[in-house]
Amino acid sequence: MLQATAAFINCTGGTNSDNPTEMTRSDVDEVIRTLVTNDAYTIADNIEGEDKFGTAPVRDAYFAMGSTQLIGDLENVQGFIAKAQYPSPMHALRPEWGSISNVRFLLSSIGSQTTAASLNGATVFNVFCTGLEAFCCVEQDGYSANFIYRPPIYDSPLALNASVGYKFAEVPRITNDAWVINLRCTLSV
């Protein structure tokens, strides 16, 4: 849903001679600037610094959802703080990889990608940077989904064939398109 309907910004600060380029600090800053200017609230509170070696305070942050393929490029962005460097890691989410400025990155193996969408025909990775209540999932009719399995004894005259079906009664929708931005990037190599 976000890939189909959200506004996007191409990363342009990189050096891989593609459009969009790989992600850089200037691109993240542009997204943050845009969300803040649009009065989007951050989702996560700040994590205060503690006197632990190798850690750093984490700002209150928007969430960015992307692909695991971005591992590596993310860590090369100026100002990246890995989850292990958080003062209190219990505040980090399981899929979280780290933070850059006011954005905390959540990565998934099924993160959004668009095939052959760059200037050079490379895969473009869609990183959805979202503020509080930017989108939602509405469950209709009092339930979200229903998986229906009928064993053979109930589904066919000679008890030979089963049937499966599913019903979805939920829909994701953007509630404020100014509070969610698709930051599109390619990989550095």
Binding site: T5, S17, A117, N120, V164, D177
Partner: protein, 318 residues
């Protein structure tokens, strides 16, 4: 949605002479059509009277029976282009790239590609447009073709570009990208007018009364429209434009950047849908589908009445 092991669907359509997609409730194993209007035809060249498709066939193939040119006798013809193609918007991926040699700097832009297999209505993603990087990475609807010679990007006016492209790669998108609607779209032109006219690169699907927000960076000139929201007053399905209640008369003229500027990285101008379709169907209208595309060799001539049947059953290959 459910997936039956056995099923049959039949229907009728009136052809407009162009390829058409028939959405089905299952992925079929067999499909047949019968052209009622042309069943006794004696056309020259011969028109398809009957056609069949099996799951085991290559895409665009099909068994056809046509009348012999100008005669009432029939002849069989197994076609490998213009036939049937199975579509599943959930699982289908972009097709292989087709490499062309140029794109004109004209209105509309025409891409030269000997041996291309695109047909009008196809959506393609273009890239590696050497010398015309302004459009590299954008999606376009093809509006006309000269089979095996060139195809027209009908919703792109590249006449103001400094130079034509000396290469192009294009991959057919087997479905209108993404399943949720209304969708965001790339902008190819915005007029300076009391009610701005916006042209979009892919068949937009918007309706009168819907609201869109515009995004446009300074690289494309009319950055004043960035984040402006407007209601669609009218649509033009031929030019693929929407007219919105945004006054752009005093704004900087919209224009594509140079190829060099685009190559260093730009964000394409876009329309962002705000809210739902005007009848709130977007929230409940799952636009994903499974179906069959009927190519020009089987779909029938303009105004032909065609009956079809699709079946699904146990399928195996020895």
């Amino acid at each position: 949605m459910s997936t039956p092991l056995h099923g049959q669907i039949s229907g009728t359509y009136v052809s407009d002479g162009t390829a058409r997609v028939i959405p089905l409730r299952f992925d079929p194993d067999y499909f047949a059509l019968f052209n009622q209007t042309n069943f006794n035809g004696v056309e020259t060249p011969g028109e398809t009277k009957r056609a069949w498709w099996f799951r085991s066939l290559d895409p665009e193939s099909g068994f056809t029976v046509k009348n012999t040119d100008g005669m009432a006798t029939d002849e069989s013809d197994f076609v490998t282009t213009g036939g049937f193609r199975l579509i599943n918007t959930i699982t289908d991926v972009l097709e292989a790239a087709q490499i062309g040699t140029s794109v004109t700097a004209a209105a509309p832009a025409v891409a030269a590609d000997a041996g291309h297999t695109f047909i009008p209505g196809d959506n393609v993603r273009v890239f590696s447009t050497t010398g015309m990087l302004q459009i590299a990475g954008m999606d376009f609807t093809i509006t006309a073709t000269d089979p095996g010679v060139d195809y027209t990007l009908g919703f792109l006016d590249s006449s103001t570009f400094a130079a034509p492209a000396t290469a192009i790669s294009a991959r057919r998108i087997p479905f209108d990208p993404r399943d949720f609607a209304p969708k965001n779209r790339f902008i190819t032109a915005i007029s300076n007018a009391v009610n701005a006219v916006i042209q979009l690169s892919v068949t937009h699907g918007y309706n009168v009364g819907e609201i869109i927000t515009l995004r446009c960076t300074p690289a494309f000139g009319m950055s004043e429209v960035n984040n402006l929201q407007g209601e669609i007053q009218s649509i033009d399905t031929v030019a693929n434009t929407v007219t919105v209640d945004i006054n752009t008369t005093s704004f900087t003229a919209f224009s594509f950047p140079t190829s060099a500027v685009a190559g260093s990285g730009v964000t394409f101008p876009q329309t962002i849908p705000v809210g739902d379709f005007d009848v709130l169907s977007g929230a409940i209208d799952n636009q994903a589908f499974i179906g069959l595309r009927l190519g020009v060799d089987v779909v029938g001539a303009n105004n032909d009445v065609v009956h079809w049947v699709a079946t699904k059953g146990l399928f195996g290959i020895d």
